[in-house]
Symmetry: C2
Subunit: 241 residues, 2 copies
Amino acid sequence: MNLPLHKSGAGAHDNPPSAKTAIESVYAAVREDILSGRLKPGSRLPIEHLRSHYEVGSSTVREALSRLVSDTLVTTEGQRGFRVAPISLADFREIVAMRKLLEAQALGEAIARGDDDWEAGIVAAFHRLSKVEEQLPTNAVRLAADWEQRNQAFHDALVAACGNRWLMHFRAILFAQSSRYLRISLTKRTVPRDVHAEHEALFQATLARDTELACRISDQHIELTVEVIAARMAQHGTDDI
Amino acid sequence: MNLPLHKSGAGAHDNPPSAKTAIESVYAAVREDILSGRLKPGSRLPIEHLRSHYEVGSSTVREALSRLVSDTLVTTEGQRGFRVAPISLADFREIVAMRKLLEAQALGEAIARGDDDWEAGIVAAFHRLSKVEEQLPTNAVRLAADWEQRNQAFHDALVAACGNRWLMHFRAILFAQSSRYLRISLTKRTVPRDVHAEHEALFQATLARDTELACRISDQHIELTVEVIAARMAQHGTDDI
DNA sequence: GTCAAACATTATATCGATATTTGTTTGTTT
DNA sequence: AAACAAACAAATATCGATATAATGTTTGAC
């Protein structure tokens, strides 16, 4: 967990805007702590604990947690308080299935509708991602956060021209859920995989406007994470709860 | 809007469970008021107003509204309070596009995995729906609420065997959004349409396990609502905001 | 007559205290 | 010793009050 951050305009997120109000600060902080795994899946989120930790009132904490509920990062039942949403291999498989569906759909629409600005955005994002992926083998741990940011930016750029806001919304939710799982595998690589090659192939196919090929690569790209996570979770014994 | 309901265990919803706590009561009530159109799209949701109306504290209202935010039925920006999520024809078109995608996917998986219980559930739900659709032409207004409930139950039954919880979750969100629009057209029918025939075709194709046909019918079934809503919204001048 | 700045008003965001509920421990009974 | 019940402890849900920001209005200048 972090140090108190109330009224410090920090927070390098794009999805939850800038975080001006106290609720938004706590929302962003808890969200980040969940995504990063600092708050363990299934663990309780005691109000009083968070309240003193973030130095805010209890209602503020409750409201922040409430907003995380429908993001499905936090659960709440009856009168038993809040919990970090649990994870499981089965859940991850369902997330992956959905991501394949939505990502392919978004990619197809983006390819059909994208203009020159869209292409330029992809080129730029791919360049930034490539830069960090070159050094990734030697400096994996140090660059992990940077890579994750640029990876997301690249994938966002690919579908930026997709006109459907609902598709983008659901896609963002699933991406956040995925990253909870993927951070498990960031530190130690169990399944060999040339991620950069996948990204490059996706990059080429998209700019060539080859929808069918791009979608096929996207599917594989997402599907490959399953093996990685399955291996890690089996090894950790984290496959339930 | 409704009468106060705090601590009265009412609420005929299934999605938001039974509503035991005050927050859940307010959540369910506001949700229903939004879906039914009693709370107009884009209108403000002043805390004090709701507080006295539902006879609860302000924090309770805030928390209930917060949970509606990520359901995308309520919006909130900065320090400007809460609003009912706006509607627009463009938004509805995007919802429809997503629903076609997800409904077809869910239907396909359900057909592939469904067992006898699944079939039985469909038969029962279809029977219940048919009963009310027979009388619909003569008694449209009186049966509207009943029809809506059974219609949802039927469509839920069709995809009940789909194993992907995320798919079901997103589907439920979109269904709720849709119903905000569809209630506009429930009272007065502008575009002639034999809904029962569509339901029967969908019923037959699904039980025959003809995935391709069922998905095609499902697509058409959803797509047809666009014309209905487009006509109504143009006529109402509600196409923006 | 238009614009802008200070003020008043309204409503939001936030807080800490209180009342219920849940979970646990202790003590009693068969 | 096991099962049950009552009392205790911890944490949640809820409340109303206060501080703070946003909005609307009046006043004053150009």
